[in-house]
Symmetry: C2
Subunit: 571 residues, 2 copies
């Protein structure tokens, strides 16, 4: 009889245990969990705090009893594993209820010890108002604080948990300030996409402080119990402070046992989840994973990979050949009415890893524009100069998760932008367009690569002086609402009739075309390029540019027409 001990009874650990039982009815399977709950809905915690999930029981997907009756698992909660005797193949766990040590022998050991919230070494974080949100008791405490009348919350960290907790607090009527050290919210996506999320937060009256470190939690100067002190010296009164600055692998047990760890303290495993000890497997947030695109090792605390790693570990323990895939980091978050999703590395991370890449931005509708309810899907696609898909991000009110899932599948398959262009996705007016946003992204990328589309972006803007002609091809009405200072205006529908005027105004200078979303400027660019101009089209149009450059000031009123003399302009 095979004896298996699983340390950690959520996600990866429980997946391993369940799969093991389904494959091996005779094994003795013991699951040891330090906390009081197993198999709970970690990802549901913010929604329980916010009240969308009103009943605590809904988070408890299984109990030790239900796991015993359904899967014949010996699940022991409040058991904190303190040490592994690799030589003797035993683990020693502290039974926290009876305060005794239990020694369990194993033939195979699965470490699913997860990750712990990072608590920076700053003063005052041990105060009772400062909380993290990782377990059901964490949620209990936050709910109790809200029930007791908390009014002001400060959330430190604008990652997934931070943003979900911001929404939960706002839903419960609290004033919320969100503090993030990075210059943007949601560092998992690129800045110009995160700007859309930040706008949604502000729309919902969240006080967003990006690019701001926090320094301490101190005695109150108001009638709220504590002050959060920021690096810039400002003080925020708070009833509750949520610390959401990330997690770190919880691997003290593995370290003490002498298992190989990465320099970030994650357990190093093979593709079949085996650690440096062939009798010990590890899964989930505690382990090091390989980025599928960059090949860079890292930690990716996500539920999906954890669950699949558990399944792989079970198969591996039983000698079935199965390996886990490198991780894409596909993720999604709901932020009030908006959805933000990503697959693969960001442009920032690709650059850091030295991966040469192109970027296209587009803003197609979630479904056919003539059918009611279509919303823009703000989409960015990253790809190599050879056309291989590297990643994508999307933000919008509808259809965002679908497009990212499609591209995540394409990314896993090693598809190219040509493949995206030819994907045959389900179309009817309520669901998409005959040319789906993913197809459109493929088309644009093809056009970039074969030179049909030449793009310019915000970095070029910085270099612009009088040495280029900025040509806004939107309608006059749109231009009057706000345009780039110094730009000329010819609506794209009139461009062919004004080519001579443009030529005269350009006087040999390059023409940089722009419109709202990048489509009309693409059409105009094609006209200009084929008429001998050095032209390029603004990638993603003003919509993307304004997200990239939040400080950008547009000028109201009519812009110059190329046939006209330039008006006298300030600047």
């Amino acid at each position: 009889m095979r004896r298996v001990v699983v340390v950690g009874g959520v996600a990866g650990g429980m997946s391993a245990a369940a799969r093991l039982r389904r494959l091996d009815e005779s094994a003795q399977i013991v699951v040891l969990e330090r906390g009081g709950e197993v198999s709970f809905a970690n990802c549901g915690l913010p929604y329980h705090v916010g009240g969308e999930i009103p009943h605590r029981d809904a988070l408890l997907l299984h109990t030790p009893d239900s796991l015993e009756s359904s899967l014949d698992l010996d699940v022991r909660v409040h058991h904190d594993v303190r040490s592994i005797d690799r030589e003797g193949r035993t683990v020693t766990a502290r039974d926290l209820v009876h305060d005794v040590d239990v020694v369990l022998p194993y033939d195979a050991l699965v470490l699913a010890t997860g990750a712990d919230p990072i608590v920076p070494p700053l003063p005052g974080l041990d105060r009772p108002q400062v909380r993290t949100l990782r377990t059901v008791p964490d949620a209990d405490v936050l709910r109790a604080m809200l029930a007791a009348g908390a009014q002001k919350a400060v959330v430190i960290g604008a990652g997934f948990i931070g943003l979900e907790t911001v929404e939960a607090f706002r839903r419960r009527g609290l004033d919320v300030t969100l503090v993030e050290m990075a210059p943007q919210v949601l560092p998992a996506i690129d800045a110009e996409m995160a700007a859309l999320v930040e706008a949604e937060l502000r729309l919902h009256h969240v006080d967003v402080r990006v690019g701001t470190g926090f320094a301490a939690v101190e005695d109150s100067t108001t009638d709220h119990p504590v002050d959060v002190v920021l690096a810039d010296g400002s003080r925020l009164a708070a009833d509750v402070v949520l610390l959401g600055v990330g997690v770190k692998p919880s691997t003290a047990l593995a370290r003490d046992a002498g298992l190989e760890l990465s320099d970030r303290g994650a357990v190093v495993v093979t593709a079949d989840q085996r650690t440096s000890d062939p009798s010990i497997w590890a899964v989930g947030d505690a382990i090091q994973v390989i980025d599928a695109v960059t090949g860079v090792p890292g930690v990716v605390p996500l539920a999906g990979p954890a669950n699949r790693q558990g399944r792989t570990a079970a198969d591996s323990i039983l000698g079935r050949a199965r390996t886990s895939q490198p991780v894409l980091g596909t993720a999604v978050v709901k932020v009030f009415g908006l959805t933000a999703a990503v697959t693969g590395p960001t442009s920032r991370r690709l650059t850091a890893a030295g991966v040469e890449h192109h970027v296209v931005h587009l803003h197609p509708g979630s479904h056919a524009g003539y059918y009611p309810g279509a919303k823009p899907v703000h989409l960015v696609l990253l790809f190599t100069p050879e056309g291989r898909v590297l990643g994508a991000q999307a933000v919008g009110k509808d259809g965002v998760d679908k497009r990212i899932d499609v591209i995540a599948t394409a990314l896993r398959a090693g598809m190219t932008v040509d493949d995206l262009a030819e994907l045959e996705l389900a179309y009817a007016p309520p669901f998409g367009s005959a040319k789906d946003p993913v197809n459109m992204a493929g088309f644009m990328a093809q056009n970039i690569l074969d030179g049909t589309l030449r793009a310019w972006g915000p970095d070029d803007l910085d270099g612009f002086g009088d040495d280029v002609l900025l040509l806004d091809v939107r309608s006059e009405v749109e231009v009057e609402g706000g345009h780039l200072p110094g730009s000329y205006n010819v609506p794209h529908t009139e461009l062919r009739d004004h080519l001579d005027d443009v030529r005269q105004a350009a006087a040999g200078r390059p023409v940089r075309v722009l419109c709202a979303s990048g489509f009309r400027s693409y059409l105009a660019h094609r006209v200009l390029a084929q008429n001998g101009f050095d032209s390029a089209s603004l990638d993603g149009g003003l919509m993307t540019l304004r997200a990239q450059r939040p400080g950008l000031v547009l000028q109201r009123g009519a812009a110059r027409m190329p046939g006209q003399k330039a008006p006298v302009m300030a600047s």
Copy 2:
């Protein structure tokens, strides 16, 4: 200067013309359209009839004027192309307004002549109450009939257009009877999935008559203007009859010009959309396409492929290497509150093409069950004995199009069920599950292929007599609500304690396990198989079985427990 003539100004034709202009500013591009509208939203017509799209103008995405100003296209409506002089490279079109012939020379000709509604040779179909829905004027007529007080509608044909028009008519308050010759609605999906759609139609008070031919439209015997006479002799009073029995390629022009046609009358083209005449390209509903999975040629009148074929044709005309992909037939339809979608061939079509395949049915939630609003996604996955994905269908209220789009991408990539299991899709509680429905389908298929899961289905049920033991592993409460006559009941959580009883009751016979959805019976099957039983688990559970066997009668009350003596039962 290159002279290009495009025949047909919707979808494929207009895509070709627009792309041509973007790539070649100097070409002379003439688009000839028989009707009065170009570039109209064909797929939006039912929604205009139903009123979701109240304004007719919303359907007209472009006009000849807007196409002239934006893309410098010479678009001529009411021009019916009557002949092609391939030798002299000219087309002759009838200007239907001025009733004169126009002769246009071409260097390249694109045929995008589309398809016409099939009108069976049955009596009475020329009556004014009998309509089709393919053009904007068709929609105008239907709206006028509704405005004039039509109360009773008969829709002939339960394909996409038929179902969308059924919904439109119901939305406008009409009594609707849906008549379909096939034994199911929506023949594009397999019968057990279509049964769910049929139930939704009935829920919305549609009188569904499947397996019923129709014979004629005759003089009225009521105060409604006509009677629809069915093959079984029954008569349906109607104010309006919508004929939605499919379309056929509109290729008289190509035929008369001597271009190669398929035996179904579709224009035969190469992968770069070239016809048997190297100066003539063809795209869209008029052409023959190759099924990506079976390799069987056919016609697939879908907007997505048509648009991409137009793009390919433009590139090909300009000497750019680009080819269209074989067609998957990915499609989706909204039917009241339900969505039904498909990619790849149905099981029925695979069988007809002689493609050996496995099938798994599952019913996972559209997102995490603990987050409010999750709905079942009824999903079927088809795959080869080697594990290659062949197709999938899904029906449900939420998240259906997303899962089919993911599988359509996997199908295009040639992925296996192992790949589906390892897909890393975007997960947060409002959007999915850590194990997404697509992952689950992959897991199940893996289990089938490696023997971990052995399935039985409705065909086996027919053969069952006393020679098998039917074991229902749902809870007693569920079983009392209805169970298969003759089945035994042991809740799966109690199975390990009753193995001896089951062994005694089975007396060496095979055990066929079932539950509601197939998951608990899978767990029970694993227990039984590893304890020496000849066991198998009902694929998709009772949910699928009842859809496969609409006539199946379940028995109320408690079922036998294996330890008990069998009660005296009326068979």
